[in-house]
């Protein structure tokens, strides 16, 4: 019903555009959008997913929004990328290039034969400096139906209701203007921005996020009413990842930034700016080496005071982006408030330690679980010294498998296998592989740590 209403509204206001112009603009711009299908293969199942993407260059490079792929999925589990043109049931193959840390975009490249039919979005960018949409300005975009309808394109149209820094400049339209990840244009057909993923229909609820809590959002997953303006998109289109993980990743190692609200800022006589409290400084991190301490309040980066945002929470993303936009080896001067004193810290950004999604892993079908290498993030999560963090973590436990019946749970830290300490991933997998292969074995024993508690699990194989 909602969609129908919306469609009627769109039809009525369409008459405001010059009739001859929009169909031509539409046909041309449709060539810069595609639907992308891929499969996620886990230990026990295989699921198809569909996302919408925008063509960014002549090499057939396509960007998908960050939410297009489940962050828990590992690149090696992502299979069979296919690209569909709007309204066309035929598909072309594509290659997954990886995710960019700063923008969060996933990059995909379509096979060569399709490239002639694609038009990069840059063709529709304004020749001069990209204008930010004005309040009340009319904007339109493209939506795509589902796969069963051949991704048939349809028109969405609205006008700008509000523009905010979140911290990227984000325009919020009165109604949905495009499918998530798809472009938005003005009346002249100039590229105005990229629709945000699953942005709340009722954006005001987003603005009024409660401190510490997550904002409440009503989500229309197929269409979005908010878009990041062109200046937040165009400069970053060249950030094609060099590898699936988007490395190198800049790393500061300050954990849990928390925003400072107006009342606190006023109390600390910092009315004109914002700040971010550092909850923890991670072991061996660039932040630690720079002398940062837990509870320091970051006030400025390279002499620039942290701007004030609405809502206050946005400052956290701002600080994180300031790190992400840089590269390992870059230096950063952080001005922090420590007690009553201001301290300048010079940090040289490092390379992010191996992430959980990069960790080596191995699935044992007969035992019924996947062992994953213990990485830096595991040590942080379990509050142990990095040096103490050896062994493997149960990454997946197959329901009703011998491991599951013995009580093994996802995220259990396996510290011993058959009474032998698991000193490394290699040692552990060697032992597990031998156990898996030994069909005469009737049981084996795991010593696991779960929330600081230790448990001995007897896994019966027969």
């Amino acid at each position: 019903m909602k969609r129908l209403c919306l469609f009627i509204v769109a039809m009525i206001s369409l008459t405001a555009l010059r009739a001859a112009e929009l169909p031509a603009l539409w046909a041309e711009r449709l060539k810069s959008v595609v639907a992308v299908e891929y499969f996620t293969e886990t230990e026990t199942d295989r699921r198809p997913s569909v996302a919408y993407g925008v063509v960014v260059d002549a090499q057939g490079t396509i960007i998908l929004p960050s939410a297009a792929i489940d962050p828990r999925a590992v690149p090696s589990q992502l299979k069979e990328f296919k690209v569909y043109l709007p309204g066309d049931p035929a598909s072309a193959t594509a290659e997954y290039l990886g995710q960019d840390a700063l923008t969060g975009w996933h990059f995909v490249r379509a096979e060569e034969r399709l490239r002639a039919q694609l038009t990069p979005i840059t063709k529709f960018a304004s020749a001069s400096a990209t204008p930010e949409p004005a309040l009340a300005e009319d904007v339109w975009g493209i939506g795509l139906r589902n796969k069963d309808e051949d991704f048939t394109p349809y028109l969405l149209k609205s006008h700008i209701a509000l523009i905010q820094s979140l911290p990227q400049r984000t325009a919020i339209a009165q109604h949905e203007v495009a499918g998530p990840g798809l472009p938005v244009f003005n009346r002249e057909g100039v590229f105005m921005g990229l629709a945000a993923t699953s942005f709340g229909q009722t954006f005001l609820q987003f603005s009024r996020s409660e401190r510490g809590g997550s904002p409440t959002m009503l989500i229309n997953v197929e269409e979005s009413s908010a878009f990041q303006v062109a200046e937040e998109v165009l400069p970053y289109l060249g950030r094609v990842p060099k590898n699936a993980f988007g490395r190198p990743l800049a790393w500061l190692g300050a954990y849990g930034f928390e925003p400072m609200d107006r009342e606190v800022a006023k109390f600390l006589k910092l009315e004109s700016q914002s700040g971010a409290v550092v909850s923890e400084v991670l072991e061996g991190s660039p932040a630690e080496k720079a002398g940062m301490q837990a509870r320091d309040i970051v006030l400025a980066i390279n002499g620039q005071p942290l701007p004030r945002f609405k809502p206050d929470r946005v400052v956290v993303s701002y600080v994180e982006r300031e790190v992400e936009r840089r590269a390992p080896g870059d230096t950063l001067t952080l001005t922090v408030l420590r007690g009553a004193e201001r301290v300048d810290l010079k940090a040289t950004l490092g390379d992010e330690p191996k992430l959980m999604r990069e960790a080596a892993r191995k699935y044992y079908e007969r035992l019924g679980f996947t062992a994953r290498e213990f990485v830096y993030g595991d040590a942080v999560a379990r509050r142990v010294k990095v040096a103490e963090g050896s062994g493997v973590v149960a990454h997946f436990v197959k329901p009703n498998s011998p491991a599951a019946i013995a009580g093994l749970r996802t995220d259990d830290w396996i510290k011993e296998i058959d009474g032998v300490e698991t000193k490394s991933f290699e040692a552990a997998t060697e032992k597990l592989a031998a156990t898996e292969a030994d069909t005469l074995r009737s049981e084996f024993v795991l010593l696991v740590s779960r929330g600081g508690e230790t448990a001995v699990l007897r896994v019966k194989l027969k």
């Binding site: 409660e210 401190r211 510490g212 954990y255 849990g256 928390e258 925003p259 400072m260 609200d261 009342e263 606190v264 006023k266 109390f267 600390l268 409290v277 550092v278 909850s279 923890e280 837990a294 509870r295 309040i297 007690g339 009553a340 509050r383 510290k415 011993e416 009474g419 032998v420 024993v445 010593l447 740590s449 600081g452 508690e453 230790t454 448990a455 001995v456 007897r458």
Partner: protein, 421 residues
């Protein structure tokens, strides 16, 4: 029934309790009903710790002749769920009130199948007797929040009975046919039929003696959490009935400092061999440590892999994870001190701080954004080393309201808050 049984009936009392609760962000009072049994001519009444605790502000006892008399808490021990009260003897004397006393029986001689009776005040129904049998005389039943949020059951096993035990029976006696008290009824399984539990008289006698003498039971701890070895002896190549599994070690505890860790097998304490094959065997082992004086040196013999080693551990005083509570009325917030045990269990860097128990809507704490579970670590830049720091800041705010800066932690995230007048 026997003469003893009739005398016992006259020794069972109803206890009406009015106690303070801090959960709502303010000081609130709640009323509840329990049972108890008069033990001595000097008017000691034994009941459950979850009936009468230091939170009680008013304890009223209804004797078997339906006369009411007030009482005071002598002491409590949440670990065994026992509390001892004393009737206002002067008042009773002035009013010429008489009461009978009960006697303990030998709980160690109880056998499964033996007939027992539960006497008490279920749902306020005074002097209700229910009958059943001993279903199990050695039940292991540990609960970290069993007694109104306090830990219980680590140091004793329980009598299990099918004599009907309902809310209000708590603190009443479980008696044999002679009217001897063999247990103190404590709890039942919610949603189950006839699964009731009682503290054995043998334990109760010791606790009563301790409470009369000191008003509290002092125990030692080394921070070791044992686990049953059941079925794992082969794996650890242990002789049958040898050793107890160390399930976990509290971070920062004496056992942790001595280098013990989860997965080690504890073989002996001061040369006394321990056998923790089954869960029922764990409380006596816990008691072996708990009954040592605070600061005692214990020699623990343990096995790790194929190695057997000795280590000396110095005991420290056992504390509950539940700290002292208080309501800060002007702020609309109630708090509980972070105890050493709480800090260790939750892996906090220190025991400085108070936990927010509740906030009242519209009051400064709620307006600032604080909520239940936050741990306030600093007030106006001053570390919250004790409850007194918070109380002093609150008193200052009452006298002269001014914006107050709080630093608080939620999960592992640190935030700042302003309490505005």
């Amino acid at each position: 029934m026997s003469k003893g049984f009739n005398q016992l009936l006259d020794a069972v009392v109803r206890i009406d309790v009015r106690e303070v609760a801090f959960e709502s962000g303010a000081r609130r009072y709640a009323a509840s009903i329990g049972s108890g049994v008069i033990l001595s001519a000097d008017a000691l009444v034994l009941t459950n710790a979850h009936v009468a605790s230091p939170r009680a502000v008013e304890l009223s006892i209804t004797l078997s002749n339906l006369e009411r008399v007030s009482a005071k808490l002598v002491g409590w021990d949440h670990w065994t769920d026992l509390a001892l009260l004393r009737i206002d003897v002067a008042d009773a004397k002035r009013r010429g009130l008489k009461f009978a006393t009960a006697e303990f029986g030998d709980s160690s001689k109880l056998f499964p199948g033996q007939t027992v009776f539960a006497v008490g005040t279920p749902h306020g129904l005074t002097r209700t007797v229910t009958r059943g049998i001993i279903s199990n005389n050695n039940r292991y039943f540990e609960d970290t929040t069993g007694v109104n949020g306090y830990e219980t059951g680590a140091f004793n096993t329980w009598l299990q009975t099918d004599a009907a035990i309902n809310p209000g029976n708590s603190g009443g006696p479980l008696v044999n046919e002679d009217g001897r008290v063999v247990g103190i009824n404590s709890r039942g399984y919610l949603g189950a039929n006839n699964l009731g539990f009682a503290i054995p008289a043998a334990i109760a006698k010791k606790i009563v003696a301790g409470l009369v003498q000191d008003g509290a039971i002092t125990r030692s701890t080394i921070g070791l959490v044992p686990g049953a070895l059941q079925d794992l002896e082969n794996f650890y190549s242990l002789a049958l009935n040898t050793g107890v599994l160390i399930n976990s070690i509290a971070p920062g505890s004496p056992a942790a400092r001595a280098g013990l860790r989860g997965g080690d097998i504890l073989l002996a304490i001061d040369g006394i061999k321990v056998d923790g094959r089954f869960p029922e065997q764990l409380p006596p082992i816990q008691n072996l440590i708990a009954s040592q004086p605070v600061g005692a040196k214990l020699k623990l013999t343990y096995r790790r892999g194929a190695q057997i080693a000795d280590v000396i551990v110095v005991t420290e005083k056992l504390e509950s994870s539940v700290g002292e509570e208080w309501a800060l009325e002007k702020w609309g917030m109630s708090v509980r001190k972070v105890s050493r045990t709480y800090a260790r269990v939750n892996q906090l860097t220190s025991d400085a701080g108070v936990i927010v128990l509740g906030v009242q809507s519209g009051f400064p704490a709620e307006v600032a954004g604080l909520s239940r579970g936050d741990i306030i670590t600093k007030i106006n830049q001053q570390p919250v080393e004790s409850l007194a720091v918070v109380q002093a800041a609150h008193t200052a705010f009452e006298a002269k309201p001014a914006p107050t800066l709080l630093e608080a932690q939620r999960d592992r995230r640190v935030s700042l808050y302003i309490l505005k007048p």
